[in-house]
């Protein structure tokens, strides 16, 4: 299981990569993709949508089930990773490259964990 140091993490298993220009990419963690299993569908928001911290903004579907993706921040969607719609398995294969959206105008955030704390947190999560 991989927990890159430069990212921040939520307890709902999203990662956020802060960029120097104030924008940020959001994706699903390695732990999340491992728990979800083979992903076969992603439903993403549109550019311009405003996401609210702690609220669902996308959903991903494995063979077995649908799961909501929660936004770590309140912000506006600047870019959507549309290619993921055709290759949802990218999230399984490279979770920290398969960003879902890039957001800007960040005005609030959820509780964010650093890599070490998130890794410790995943150890306390039981299998669904």
């Amino acid at each position: 299981m991989n927990f890159p140091e430069e990212l921040w993490y939520t307890k709902s298993h999203e990662w956020i990569r802060m960029q120097e220009d104030g924008s940020a990419q959001i994706g699903l963690t390695d732990y999340a993709q491992h728990e979800l299993g083979d992903l076969v569908f992603v439903n993403l928001p549109a550019v311009g949508d405003v996401l609210a911290a702690g609220e669902t903004f996308a959903d991903v579907e494995s063979v077995k089930a649908v799961s909501d993706v929660f936004s770590p921040v309140t912000a506006r969607v600047a870019a959507v990773h549309e290619e993921l719609a055709d290759t949802p398995a990218d999230i399984n294969n490279a979770p920290y490259e398969a960003w879902l959206v890039r957001v800007e105008n960040i005005t609030a955030h959820e509780e964010l964990l650093n890599a070490a704390d998130y890794e410790a947190y995943t150890k306390t999560c039981t299998v669904e």
């Binding site: 076969v40 063979v63 669904e128």
Partner: protein, 363 residues
Amino acid sequence: MEKEGLRKTPLYEEHVRCGGKLVPFAGWLLPVQYEAGVLTEHMAVRSKCGLFDVSHMGEILCQGKDALANLNRLLTNDYTSLADGQARYSPMCNAQGGVIDDLIVYKAGDGDYFIVVNAANKDKDFAWMCSQAQGDVVFSDRSADIAQLALQGPAAPDIISRLVAAESIPAAYYSCRFNVPMDGVPAMISRTGYTGEDGFEIYLAAGDAPRIWNRLLAVGKEYGLCPCGLGARDTLRLEAAMPLYGHEMDEEVSPLAAGLKMFVKMDKPDFIGKAALAAGTLTEKRIGLQVTGRGIVREQQDVYSGDRRVGRTTSGTYAPFLQQAVAMARVQADAVTVGDRLTVDVRGRRVAVEVVKLPFYKR
């Protein structure tokens, strides 16, 4: 997740060792998938072979001079012509014509039948069978003593022949062999399955199961055999449009509405539920839906023809072999025909579907 009170099959330790992701299912702790994942496991069964632990299934013996008469009264299918070493599927109905369970009966000999039922329904089934018993018949629940493996896929005959003599392997679909030696231990082997592929279901004494499981994986390796979990079992059966109790049918649904008419023999003198089925008018039917829009349709979602709600999905998933989302639904019988373009409400979003003939996949 609460794991207390969940039962472990005789193969629990093997699942842990194989990297199985264990989840609660019907009161049991069972692997939903192994390291390979549902998609890979599904494709292994379609192209090579998969090995499933289905020891949670219930096994009930029906024995006695009047066993056949009891089966014919309890079950909607007709067992009169069932020969020794043959298997036959049937719904079991209540007096209202709802489905108590669906099951398979295997004939060992005259007055000696082996019934395999769904895990979640086993206690209910056994109590019902005992309560309805007439004449010289004894039902006995042997579920705790028996393990069941399913070896499924085109390579299954090659793999099983490594552990079982050719003359002891059932040759015809829905045939079975009782008490044959399998790598030195007694087994009941049937040519049946729940995947849409050729294959076998293997019944063993619980204590023999771990060794046979490991032997099958070892000899099957060169054929591409891999352990498969409940996730692949569900996608495989759904792709093959096989009904699942609690989804396509339950105690409120008649076997006719569930699309099981060919297993309901209305010309039999009598069976429990016959009067209700004969009196009722058939207002619903089971259909297949191929998703043409974006998304995955799941169970319990409303199906619409234009603005009119015509039914509800009963199962739905991404079908890995077909590489598209499919679903089954129970709809108003007169409102829908093959080729119709409908929509399904997927969490507030209308997803386009087309009514297609079942099964979605046929080998």
